[in-house]
Amino acid sequence: MLLYLLLRWQAHLPLNPDHLPDVTAPIALNTTASFVTNTNWQYYGGEFTMSYLSQMAGLAVQNFVSAAVGMAVLAAVIRGFARRTTSDLGNFWRDLYRSLVYILLPLSVVLALILVWQGVPQTLDGHATATTLEGAKQSIARGPVASQIAIKQLGTNGGGFYNSNSAVPFENPNGFTNLLEVIAILLIPMAQVFMFGRMIGRMRQAWVVWSAMFVLMAVGFAIAYPTEQHGSQVLRDSGVNIASSSQQSGGNMQDKEIRFGIADTALWATVTTDASNGSVNGGHDAFTPIGGSVPLVNIFFGEVIWGGVGSGLYGMFFYILIAVFVAGLMVGRTPEYLGKKIEAREIKLAAVGALFVPSMALILAGISVVTHAGLASMYNTGAHGFTEALYAYTSQSNNNGSAFAGYGGLPFAANLGSVALYLGRFVPLVTALAVGGALAGKKTHPESAGTFKTDGPTFAVLLVAIIVLTAGLMVFPALTLGPIVEGLS
């Protein structure tokens, strides 16, 4: 509520040196939903919509708190695995405080200072005015950028200070900052896998989860990078020289920064959609059809390949429980994970957690392409337009926040998106807590000869297969209507 009111009244509040007007109601509602749910889907351009007060006291605060909420919930769910016959999963406020004060704040301060050192602005002055070589006046947006970018990357938020996100030199000035920012996206989500191993006292289990996530990430990158380097059929047929040489990157360079090239843009696109970050250093919309389907499928997997801070790993637990259940059916034993029997209740909750969001994304994308109000938001027509809409609702439902640029923030799309944002965040979150609570009340059983081992490569392979089959098959029919048709035509 406070964030919504802040956005709606920002013109009458201080720290607005460029006299930006109030944010309109649908955009304020969508933005509030977007930042509270750790999504940072942006139907606005930051530098010409948000005052410094809105950026700092509104959006940056939510960047910290929404990330800390995910981390606190994950800590509670892990305690559910680690503890026996108890109803105590810890204290939410304690975990929230610890996430903020001992983890997010120190890391953000360090990263923000490094970014300032590398040239990212950090000022409360308004736009700078410069005179170009032709003598024209140019207004250059600046503001408290570095502090915003640090938490945007570390908290898997992704909402840029500038409209073009980390493709803008003021957010991401050089190769070094690009490396730091892309590391920051996955730093906490990956660390949480090791944290899980330590808290349950079995690091081998953590390495199995790490391997499954790493393989899925590597496969995504191994598709996106060569496809972008190879370019599209249209580009090859046009006679343009797209060969890679010491003088040029080659391949499909549309909407990619020359500073970063194809490798780093493909890496960022893969990583930002593996995590629920959604920041970009290039345009996903201008990727080749197959290259562009990598971010889409990554998000559709439910943000479990590392995923959002907290939300990624608790989302992965749903798939782990399903994998354990399937393995139990195959070997004919009661499914067990970490010595706890997985019964009907946990499997039902895991199914809700794993299937609710992708189902909702497909339904909302369907609504948006069969209604006049929804169709009005599409920028492109045909298969690419469909991919835009599918990406928009997949991204918002899974709390990613990246976009196929061009999908417009009209009131219908903004309100439908708000529904996706809230349900996509809180249904899996509450389900994960229920799983944690159910597991915490159980006894642990010692492993026997018939127990399916979950700390070896066999389980990692099974886990990858379950994720690909469950989420992949759901998105495949929609992919055939969008990127696959486009790639073949």
């Binding site: 204290n91 610890r98 590391i183 996955l186 808290m199 490798a263």
Partner: protein, 92 residues
């Protein structure tokens, strides 16, 4: 794909894992409350932020904690896993 591009990606994966591993171990200690300064000066803010939501004082107010030894031990473990008891050696 170029050798330079692949080298950058490998470097990324190595640096990321090398940083994430120790951070993960640190985070585990933070949430378990076993890291030094978690119970230090900053813990005051933690108790202030979560004291009102702590179930332990309600248990104490019923008096069961001191009257019934069996419920005392349950109360003790419950209390000492919640934030208002962080850093205390004995249950209030």
């Amino acid at each position: 794909m170029t050798a330079n591009g692949i080298a950058q990606i490998v470097l990324y994966a190595v640096i990321l894992t090398a940083l994430a591993y120790p951070l993960g171990l640190y985070m585990a200690r933070v949430y378990e409350g076993t890291f030094g300064f978690v119970n230090g000066r900053l813990a005051k803010g933690e108790r202030a932020s979560c004291g009102w939501s702590d179930p332990a004082p309600i248990t104490s107010r019923t008096g069961r904690a001191t009257q019934d030894p069996s419920s005392y031990s349950a109360s003790f473990s419950r209390c000492c896993s919640t934030c208002s008891c962080a850093g205390r050696r004995t249950c209030p």
